[in-house]
Symmetry: C2
Subunit: 289 residues, 2 copies
């Protein structure tokens, strides 16, 4: 049983996890550390955590379970800073959107090999809003959490992390790290890149001041993810560079093909693309969370 | 005062307009024609209209105001079919997403010139769901309606159409047709094209069966407009081909530039694009309906 939980990197996900566990009846202590003091103060004020730690080492001292929720490229640095404070038997898990990079960086921070007590995880939940102030106690309810076990994985540690997410109402599935990164490049990383690029393109048009006030609901939803944290998404795209680049190349090719069809007035083929897309989305819609 | 309203082309927009006017206290008769008999039957069953007409001419006979709500490339054909049924003084307006093509097609159907009694309009409201079954009585509440007056515009006709939309709770603004088409290519037409192309690209990946079930809320919102009517959007993109092509070209260039930055590990510049996009969206968000 977990008596003490530590959160290193306190934002939307860490804060929502704390609130979800509280809502599920978790009565142990929750300590947290974030380099931004506003996050800790806000979390205390909202009653999300019990204690604001002064460092990662301070946060994890006496913790049974540590949740690392920092931008993915800070994984190695954060692990190096917290490892000296871990007591024997403590489990560490993470919530990063890329899993190959996280496992590589954890190995680097721990003498070249991922420790048995590290469990790589990724909750498929979030909003475009960042920070603990936007955390929600039901953020993970009904959503997937992907665990990507490694070769030295301790099964009891994995079971503890699984139990933590199930207590939050999530459904936990396992996946190979490489498979995870290829899938989420398609469903999440590329769409973020496209949305950022689209909004930035509009913002550089001469008549931009007329454009945005005439945007409707379709625009608002299409661009919602362009309000996500630039720092977090810089890290994710960089950490999953190969998968994202490959898909971005395919997307550019498809748009060039569409441009050719439009220029040549091959409208039946344009229509066919629209029909295939709509049919695919409608077919899979029930499976999208 | 409008005593009889006719809707030619009965779908989400026509049905929602009828319901909105009813909710606002319109007590006149509403007749409607759609080539798909299911639309008329559904509308009667839902109490949205009073009479299903057997043709466009039949629908508009005795109408004071006719609302044309067909896919934009059917404008000329629909106008030709309904004009013989119009009594003197009847106002005709439309709801098409492109305004230069509509005005050109109306002119073609009416002997080369847009008649004074035609008012070109575009309500900035809708959902990805088509058909009168999805119509809503509050669809236009708080949303913009753009009117694009032409050189021969009768001002009383324009005032009637404005009053109709204001009764539905919409805010009416005027705009040059060419300006309208440039703006909505950016806020609406290009995003639809990008969303269709993105979903279609994923649907042709080998591991597509693993991709869609792992999609989350970001994906769902980003791709929502890819569930829109392929026929309607084929018409809009074709009718606004020049504006959409120009922006598609810019978008492809920007994505190629992003691909170059990623390949060259110029991450600060990638980050800068994300930051600009987020700042622009947050800045304009209050203006997006």
């Amino acid at each position: 049983m977990i008596q003490q939980l530590a959160i290193v990197g306190l934002g939307l996900i860490g804060g929502s996890l704390a609130r979800s566990l509280r809502a599920a009846g978790f009565v142990g202590k929750i300590s947290a550390y974030d380099p931004d003091p506003v996050q800790g103060e806000t979390a205390l004020k909202l009653g999300v955590i019990d204690r604001v730690a002064t460092s990662a080492v301070d946060a994890v001292s006496n913790a049974d379970l540590v949740v690392l929720s920092v931008p993915v490229l800070h994984t190695e640095e954060a692990m190096r800073s917290l490892v000296p404070g871990l007591k024997p038997g403590t489990i560490v898990t993470d919530v990063g959107s890329t899993k190959q990079s996280v496992l590589r960086d954890v190995a680097n921070a721990c003498g070249g090999e991922v420790p048995a007590w590290f469990v790589a995880g990724h909750p498929i939940a979030g909003t475009e809003k960042s920070g603990v102030a936007n955390s929600q106690p039901a953020l993970f309810k009904g959503h997937r959490v992907i665990l990507t076990p490694h070769t030295k994985q301790d099964l009891a540690a994995k079971a503890q992390v699984l139990a933590m997410w199930e207590a939050c109402g999530a459904r936990v599935v396992e996946m190979e790290p490489a498979r995870h990164d290829a899938i989420f490049a398609a469903t999440s990383h590329l769409p973020h890149l496209l949305a950022f690029s689209f909004v930035d393109m509009l913002d550089r048009l001469d008549h931009k001041h007329e454009i945005f006030p005439n945007a409707g609901g379709g625009f608002r939803d299409f661009t919602r993810i362009a309000s996500s944290s630039p720092r977090m998404w810089h890290d994710i795209i960089k950490a999953n560079k190969e998968c994202v680049s490959e898909l971005l190349g395919k997307q550019i090719e498809d748009l060039q093909q569409l441009q050719t069809l439009i220029a040549a007035d091959r409208w039946d083929e344009v229509s066919h693309i629209f029909e295939r897309a709509r049919a695919a989305r409608e077919h899979y819609l029930t499976q999208i969370e």
